[in-house]
């Protein structure tokens, strides 16, 4: 799981152009939206694309998104359980 969390942090930094951050700067348990990294709605769409492109995961239920994208750790948990590649 630690390797997946690190990989996700690197992919998030690249996909969202968080050039000032390193994986170590991102707390895996910290909220991604509102506080923490302060991501916005465009970032949320970019994360959805990232999950499909990198892990073959297609989110069919938008209601799930709030919990899945709560933190890097919650994304990692969902990816581990649902990845197609």
């Amino acid at each position: 799981m630690d390797n997946l969390i690190l990989q996700l942090k690197q992919q998030i930094i690249e996909a969202l152009n968080l050039e000032d951050l390193t994986p170590a700067d991102i707390d895996a348990e910290a909220p991604l939206f509102g506080e923490g990294l302060g991501l916005d709605s465009i970032d949320a769409l970019e994360l959805i694309v990232l999950l499909e492109r990198e892990y073959g995961i297609r989110l069919s239920n938008p209601a799930e998104g709030k919990e899945i994208f709560r933190s890097v750790a919650s994304i990692a948990s969902y990816v581990a359980d649902n990845r197609k590649k």
Partner: protein
């Protein structure tokens, strides 16, 4: 019309009111003269260029004046660099359109980014022209003083092709 501030940003650095103030790149200028606006890193390069030029120009203005100001910018290439980058995400075998790129596939986004950053509530517009034409650009900017009453107009050229080919030549005009 009076020009009260002028900035020129190129790969050689930045010149403010005739004084060479930095050799830095666009991102280097951001770190040197702003550095407190993480959204900068989400912007495409056209927006980053216009953003740093505006940062340098607007330092001497008041919040009250900025609220009533207008922003009118011009270039030749629109948002072509980002348009091409976005096209790559929807071409070929993999179809993963990038929302973060898509939002910058309009050149006038740079005027919006500047207005948001500096709380400018006046008119904003962006014109794509066949070539750099200071006379026509000034005419369009000056027309704003006839049809509305901006405290000042932030205007000029902002065009980005690649890291070795970009130019922001912007100024603040008052009546």
């Amino acid at each position: 019309m009076k020009t009260i501030a002028h900035v020129r940003v190129t790969p050689e650095g930045a010149v403010l009111d005739g004084n060479h103030i930095s050799d830095a790149s666009i991102t280097g200028l951001y770190r040197e003269f702003a550095g407190d606006y993480p959204k900068f890193f989400k912007m495409d390069n056209l927006c980053r260029l216009g953003f740093v030029a505006a940062e340098l120009l607007l330092k001497g203005t008041s919040a009250e004046d900025r609220a009533d100001a207008a922003v009118v910018l011009f270039n030749r290439n629109g948002s072509l660099v980002t348009d091409r980058n976005y096209q790559k995400t929807i071409s070929g075998g993999d179809f993963f359109p990038s929302p973060a790129l898509f939002v910058y596939t309009l050149a006038n986004i740079v005027t919006g980014e500047i207005a948001i950053r500096h709380k400018i509530y006046g008119e904003t517009s962006f014109y794509v022209m066949p070539a750099y034409d200071p006379g026509q650009m000034d005419d369009i900017a000056e027309d704003l003083f006839l049809t509305s009453s901006p405290s000042f107009v932030l205007t000029g050229w902002v065009d980005y092709n690649d890291d070795n080919d970009y130019l922001a030549d912007m100024k603040i005009m008052t009546r």
